[in-house]
Amino acid sequence: MHRYVRRAAAASTALALALLAACGAGSGDDGKTVRLVTHDSFNVSKSVLKKFTERTGYKVEVVSGGDAGAMVNQAALNKGNPQGDVLFGVDTALLSRALDQKIFTPYRAKGLDKVPERYRADDRNRVTPVDSGEICVNYDRKYFAEKDLEPPRTLDDLTKPAYRDLLVTENAATSSPGLGFLLATVDEYGEDGWNSYWKKLRANGVEVVDGWEQAYNDRFSGSRGGKGEGDRPLVVSYASSPPVEVVDADPKPKQAPTGVARETCFQQVEFAGLLDGAGNAEGGRKLLDFLLGKEFQEDMPLQMFVNPVREDARLPELFTRYGEQAKDPATMAPERIADNHEQWVKAWTSLVVK
């Protein structure tokens, strides 16, 4: 016991010293690192990142701030004294807040001319579009084949008796796909109509769970992670979920086990921007160029399962073979989302909870 105590004492002394050292040293910016603040879903191939370092001499350090919402809010709190140089992962729903909080400084990234107009959201170039993804209803192919039932295609279909008690979705108050699905219905049925749509959906037995993890892994019968033990063959997920289901499969099947209801989608664009007050603004600009570069854009689909915004970026085979394109996905102006977000979620909550 004596030995134990003595060792604990030694360890704590070392710790106290380390604490002092850390306090004294502060953040060591040597001009050779560029910091990317992002959410915890960010992912890139190490080989691609290495090329950036080889070309520019900058090492990329990733700083994570929880989910996208928490990340933007942290950046807003640290406005002018940011944790990094570039922030990536502001989606359509969060864009207004990020711009209102003035956390970004304008920069027109190289390669923006290759990005179609519909993805751009700020003519002052405070943010740069990087990827787009669709939130769509997914279905379990096996279930519908066994039941000899046509899978749903549209939002209207979901209220039909044939699909009673089949759909599971996420809490719009806390989950990003949950919110996206709500926005899709607002876009489709308008300010006056979405309420009654959700009433019908409720009458048709929609189930709301907290997050994507519970909905997709636990309740959806088509996910391989859940071993097909889920009880609901319809789930709100992403257009890219079917390719993900086969990414590790060996040998590759003919068809993904799940499909996408192509007219139920809501399109989200994710943006990046140079943080105001960045310690390494030069490196940050280079990093933004890189995010719009072809290498990164072509690496993205298999790492983050989103679509590139660059026209000339080629989709990997996995996507072309197993992926399904959304048909006329719903979109919404960031300002409109910002203005109505809280009120819609409140109304939605009282609709589905009752």
């Binding site: 992912n43 190490k46 990733v62 640290n78 997050g211 993900v244 909550t349």
Partner: protein, 566 residues
């Protein structure tokens, strides 16, 4: 006359020097809490209440008048009270069984009980739904589903907090002299009356301590309420998270944080008052003397009932996770475990995921060391013998202050760190130390609670005889206190370690992406579709359980009868 005056003078001298020592010892914990708790929380609350540099107190009235907030507060309070009552109702009989009855596998089972404590809620919630939700055991047997009702939340709270009651209450119960009960029986008290009038009052302080902890944990419950209750139910904690992280309504969040703190402070004050009244010297005996194999039909029935509850409530959900971690694409095997060792080639896991085990252990070790240093200094300060009419209020206030982090929202602390610790010389935002610092905040109360009773029990005469033999005060502490406290320091370290191992709420904000802890890595896997990700999440969760279980089993060996409340 003369003598009395000299007495007074001496007492005063003692008072002054005792106080000085106490203040000296308190300095480190005091600075620690000031810098890493009070300052960040004040900073984030200040941000909310002074948006434009001027106090905006109107928001106070607006938020408090909102009936929706009233409902949230009401739900938070009653579910915490109900969860605490339910945990006590199931936990106290279990505490008896674990304290007084001998049965094979007791040590192992007691370690297993603590595992839920370290599991990320999203993992535990998933396992829980598999058992009590649709298609679960209850559904299959009786057609009962709990996942749609508030019962799911209450039962899950029991799952997480069961060990607190069993360990806290059971620890004392094992040492209560059984003859106290027998004395009451011989005097004519029935079994129930003897329990109510003799055993229960003796257990009251430990039941009070356990209730306090369980209430604080459930009062600030976040993940469980979200997963099992969303969107129907929300606690203050969930609402604070939503207002801070989703809606960026800092004023509202600030008011809610203050509201939460107010309730916690009132609770702590009330607890301190009632417990002080109840404290009395008990006749204790070594725990090994009181346990015996079950006798009679009643004890056997109780044993089986408790084992049944533990089996359904704790062991079965854990077993589900383990089962899933082995259930690979080609039947049962180690596929997912093998995948943990492969380099993914991307930045989600820049190193093979198995490295999360190392990260977790390193962070938890650092947090444990911090918690031990701060906690033992605080505990020592609280035991320094007070002079005549010593500063009891100051001590009690300090004692309560140490408990506050347990009742404060993780997102408040996490965001507070980012706001407050962002300028040199204290720009710790990039430092790896942030994680152990945040974790130690939660660990310190456990260390203090464990060490205090032992330090208080060290016989003053031992210290006096060491001093008479020529030992300086520091030397007395090293030669007398430290060796006696060593063993329970190990127990305290174990709890701090387990708490750090499982901490998620603050860590997820603060851990660097290239060095995720086990719970953070599990969450990262679960957030991605596909069998391999899900399977690896389960495999990592299983490893987390093993690490935690192994730590606790080692500590079971050094656990002594003099260990404190937890």
């Amino acid at each position: 006359m003369d003598v009395t005056r000299r007495e007074v003078v001496r007492a005063k001298g003692r008072f002054a020097s005792g106080n000085l020592v106490r203040l000296g010892l308190m300095a480190v914990p005091f600075v620690f809490f000031g810098l890493f708790f009070a300052y960040p929380v004040a900073a984030i609350v200040g941000r909310g209440l002074r948006p434009e540099g001027a106090w905006a107190f109107s928001v106070l009235g607006e938020v408090l008048a909102d009936p929706a907030i009233g409902r949230v507060l009401w739900f938070t309070l009653w579910q915490a009270a109900a969860s605490t009552a339910l945990t006590l109702a199931l936990g106290v009989p279990a505490a008896y069984v674990f304290a007084r009855l001998e049965f094979p596998g007791k040590r192992l089972l007691r370690a297993v009980l603590v595992i839920p404590f370290v599991l990320p809620t999203v993992v535990a919630g998933s396992a829980f739904l598999a058992l009590l939700g649709r298609g679960g055991v209850l559904d299959g047997l009786f057609g009962v589903r709990l996942d749609t009702s508030v019962w799911a939340i209450l039962v899950a709270h029991v799952f997480f907090n069961f060990a607190v009651v069993v360990r806290t209450v059971g620890g004392l119960w094992a040492q209560l002299d059984p003859r106290q009960e027998e004395a009451a029986r011989v005097l004519g008290a029935g079994r129930a009356a003897a329990w109510r009038r003799v055993v229960l009052p003796a257990l009251a302080p430990s039941i009070g301590a356990a209730s306090l902890i369980v209430f604080l944990f459930t009062f600030t419950s976040f993940g469980i309420v979200q997963i099992l209750g969303g969107p129907r139910y929300a606690t203050l904690e969930v609402e604070i998270y939503r207002q801070t992280a989703d809606l960026f309504q800092l004023p509202t969040a600030a008011v809610l944080t203050l509201l939460q703190l107010l309730v916690v402070v009132l609770l702590l004050a009330w607890h301190a008052r009632t417990v002080r009244k109840r404290e009395s010297t008990l006749s204790l005996v070594p725990a090994e003397q009181t346990a015996h194999p079950p006798r009679g039909r009643g004890q056997w029935a109780l044993l089986w009932a408790v084992l049944g509850v533990v089996g359904v409530l704790v062991v079965a959900p854990l077993a589900v996770l383990v089962e899933r971690s082995f259930n690979g694409p080609d039947g049962y095997g180690l596929t997912f475990y093998r995948q943990l060792f492969t380099d993914t080639g991307n930045t989600t896991f820049p190193v093979p995921p198995i490295a999360a085990v190392g990260n977790s252990l390193a962070y938890a070790a650092a947090a444990t060391a911090l918690a031990l240093v701060v906690g033992s200094l605080a505990a020592t300060a609280l035991t320094v013998r007070r002079g005549a009419g010593g500063p009891g209020r100051l001590v009690r206030g300090f004692d309560a202050l140490l408990m506050l982090p347990l009742g404060t929202s993780a997102v408040t602390v996490g965001f507070g760190f980012l706001v407050a610790l962002d300028e040199p010389p204290l720009d710790l935002r990039e430092s790896w130390l942030l994680v152990p610092l945040a974790q130690a905040l939660v660990g310190v109360p456990f260390v203090v609670r464990t060490l205090l009773p032992v330090l208080r029990a060290v016989d003053v005469r031992l210290r006096e005889s060491a001093a008479v033999l020529g030992a300086s005060p520091l030397r007395v502490w090293r030669e007398v206190d430290l060796p006696m406290v060593g063993r329970s320091a190990a127990v305290a370290a174990g709890f701090a370690f387990a708490v750090s191992l499982g901490e998620f709420g603050a860590t997820v904000f603060l851990a660097r992406p290239d060095a995720p802890t086990l719970p953070v890595a599990v969450a990262r896997f679960l957030g991605r579709a596909g069998e391999a990700n899900y399977g690896q999440a389960m495999a990592l969760s299983t490893l987390l359980m093993v690490v935690c279980g192994a730590t606790l089993l080692v500590l079971e060996r050094v656990r002594t009868h003099s260990a404190g409340e937890f």
